[in-house]
Amino acid sequence: MELVRNVTALLIFPGGLFLLLAGLMYQWADRKLIAQLQNRLGPRWFQPIADAIKLLANEEIVPDGVNRLLFVGLPVAALAGALTAALYVPLFGFQPAFSFTGDLIVTLYLLSLLTLCTGLAGANTRDRFSLIGAVRALTQLFAYEAPFMLALLGPAIVAGSWQISEIITTTHGSWIVLTQPIGFLVALIGLMGKLEMPPFDSPEAETEIVAGALTEYSGRGLALFKLGRAVELVIGLTLITAFYLGGVGQGALEPAFFTLKSILVLGLLALMQSLMTRLRIDQTVGLWWRFGAILVLMQWLVLIVVKMVS
């Protein structure tokens, strides 16, 4: 019975197939919202799914001068990292499939795997656009990672635990976004940086470096990276919604309510994406370390002081 449950959790729900489809649907919602904000029609609902299937079926061209093993293995590792992270988060308002003390930290590291793999994939090829894209992707990783992590640790301090399932149960009913608005904002913007959404899309700025680190990727490798990013969008939104917007309860309606909240957060992301001009990589780094990190640290200070007093 235990085995059946584990396999189901890994392959069908919440990980695996269901998550991939959900990721693609979230991506569609994101694209559609941005299109509407930009006065365009936007894609039809099955477009991301069709793109993924088409890319998976396409021939994968392995360029000269790359390490073949890395070239083929990195996309798999990236997607695997994102899918593994899904097992520890309360997807769609269901309790996490697995849980242990400190799984928050593990989840955050698994989420970084995608960016790391993208960077390595770019550095692996000899393409000049890929190399610059890889440098930018990794530079950006160092910029947003610390503030993003600190922002997600804010609710953990309130709950007094670094275990996701415990945090979301403790904070159920209390909307931490009201007490930690800075943390919420930094986490949200950090997620945009993580997913290389505009205005943090300089690692793949098409008008400068074509497709950045993934310029040489085609077919299956590209599809896996894209799927990995779609999955990460869902996980990121889930984490932010669960931590900042009232945790996760038990009731039968909770999944629907939770999904609605996460889609609202997605709408916020779409709004921010369509409002802003792309930042240069030096501006991105400056923004994170000069404002993001310091603001979050200030909030931490307040949190710790409040906690010590009470």
């Binding site: 930009q38 000049r128 656009f129 610059i132 505009p198 008008t207 400068e208 802003m276 001009t277 792309r278």
Partner: protein
């Protein structure tokens, strides 16, 4: 060890942009040597879209050439035909009637509106601000529809004819134009506000690509690019042609000299274009659209015609030899004059600023492309005869 230092110096990291690249809408090849993210050297190779129009013009008659030259540029087709027609009229000593001249200027200003709005969208896209791109192109449809209403075409309006214009501005069309201009003016106020006040956008334009006035004069830049550096250079003011003597233009200058100034100058020129268009519609002279007589053959003479295209001064040299077609025709578009400024300004900037600086001159590649450089296997600098060049072309395409 000295050998390693030498090798490290020799090993340059060159980023090729083009001939096919998402930042370029037309083919051109740039090579930027970068140190990390900073550009240390830049070079350009043009000529990928050379179409032999100047040579082609020599074998067509005066009327046919107008249709050929309208296709030099897809964005400013009207101004090319205007320059050509004004030049040929000068050679034939024919003068177009005042109503025709006014309609030419009206169309030129509407074309400037469409060109500048197009540019604003492209520039916003290069900066990664796609929302502004989509909005400007949506609003640009207004002026495109007006141009279609006047002439039946959106791109090659072909309003000019030797000795006048083909289409009249009737009262219902004039009402529609005024309505369209009112809408566009309101939108343009909004865009000016975005360019001046949007902090994220200003981070990508303010203080980027500074070209001081002296440098702008030395590099010989033209059009809005020059005017954004405080150089008062505008053919419509310096040497008014067509109906511009009757409808004087206020020159738009900006002394900030950076990329933001180039945005502001172009957007402010839109207001000027609206004003001139309205003035022409209010005081359109009565009379014929075409001169009474236009000769088929033109006696030997030569002339230079200068007009102000949306991108800057456009120069036509036309030489007649008494036959039905020109002896020689030469076109110099503003982009070729502005290109040097891109190479100078990008050095020292981030790679991310390169597409912005390039788009700051509003480049138009295929109209500036001229003589193909044939890279000979033999000694450098040998002169090819026409026969040999022709044979080379035949052999090249036979493969």
């Amino acid at each position: 060890m000295p050998t390693i230092t030498k090798a490290a110096q020799a090993e340059k990291f060159v980023v090729p942009i083009g001939p096919q690249h998402p930042a370029l809408k037309e083919p051109g090849h740039f090579e930027f040597t970068v140190d990390g993210e900073v550009v240390t050297a830049a070079s350009v190779r043009l000529g990928y879209a050379h179409r032999g129009i100047e040579k082609g013009a020599e074998s067509r008659n005066w009327t046919q050439n107008q249709y050929l030259l309208e296709r030099v540029c897809g964005i400013c087709s009207h101004i090319h035909a205007t320059a050509y027609c004004l030049g040929v009229e000068q050679l034939a000593e024919v003068e177009a009637p005042p109503r025709a001249q006014a309609i030419r200027v009206l169309l030129a200003e509407l074309e400037r509106v469409h060109s500048h709005l197009l540019w604003l969208g492209v520039a916003a896209h290069e900066a990664g601000f796609d929302t502004l791109f989509m909005y400007t192109w949506r609003d640009r449809e207004t002026v495109m529809d007006l141009l279609e209403q006047i002439s039946g075409n959106r791109v090659n309006y072909s309003v000019n004819t030797l000795g006048g214009v083909k289409f009249d501005i009737t009262d219902p069309i004039a009402v529609d134009i005024l309505e369209g201009l009112a809408f566009l003016e309101e939108r343009t106020h909004h865009y000016l506000e975005v360019i001046e006040n949007d902090l994220m956008f200003a981070r990508r334009t303010r203080g980027i690509g500074i070209m001081p006035r002296a440098q702008a004069e030395r590099l010989g830049v033209l059009g809005p690019t020059a005017r954004a550096s405080g150089v008062a250079r505008d053919v419509r003011v310096d040497a008014p042609y067509a109906a511009y003597p009757d409808y004087p233009v206020n020159i738009i200058l900006d002394n900030a000299c950076d990329l933001e100034a180039r945005f502001i100058v172009r957007v402010k020129e839109l207001f000027e274009a609206y004003r001139i268009s309205r003035e022409i519609l209010a005081t359109l002279p009565e009379g014929d659209l075409v001169a009474k007589r236009m000769p088929r053959r033109i006696k030997p003479a030569e002339t230079i015609m200068r007009v102000e295209a949306p991108r800057g001064e456009l120069l036509y040299f036309i030489k007649s030899n008494g036959s039905e077609s020109p002896e020689r025709l030469h076109v110099r578009t503003p982009t070729i004059c502005n290109m040097a400024s891109v190479l100078t300004l990008t050095v020292g900037h981030n790679l991310a600023d390169v597409p912005m600086i390039l788009v700051g001159i509003d480049p138009c590649f295929s109209c500036n492309d001229r003589g193909v450089i044939v890279r000979s296997e033999q000694a450098a600098g040998d002169l090819w005869t026409w026969e040999r060049l022709r044979q080379h072309g035949i052999d090249y395409y036979r493969r």
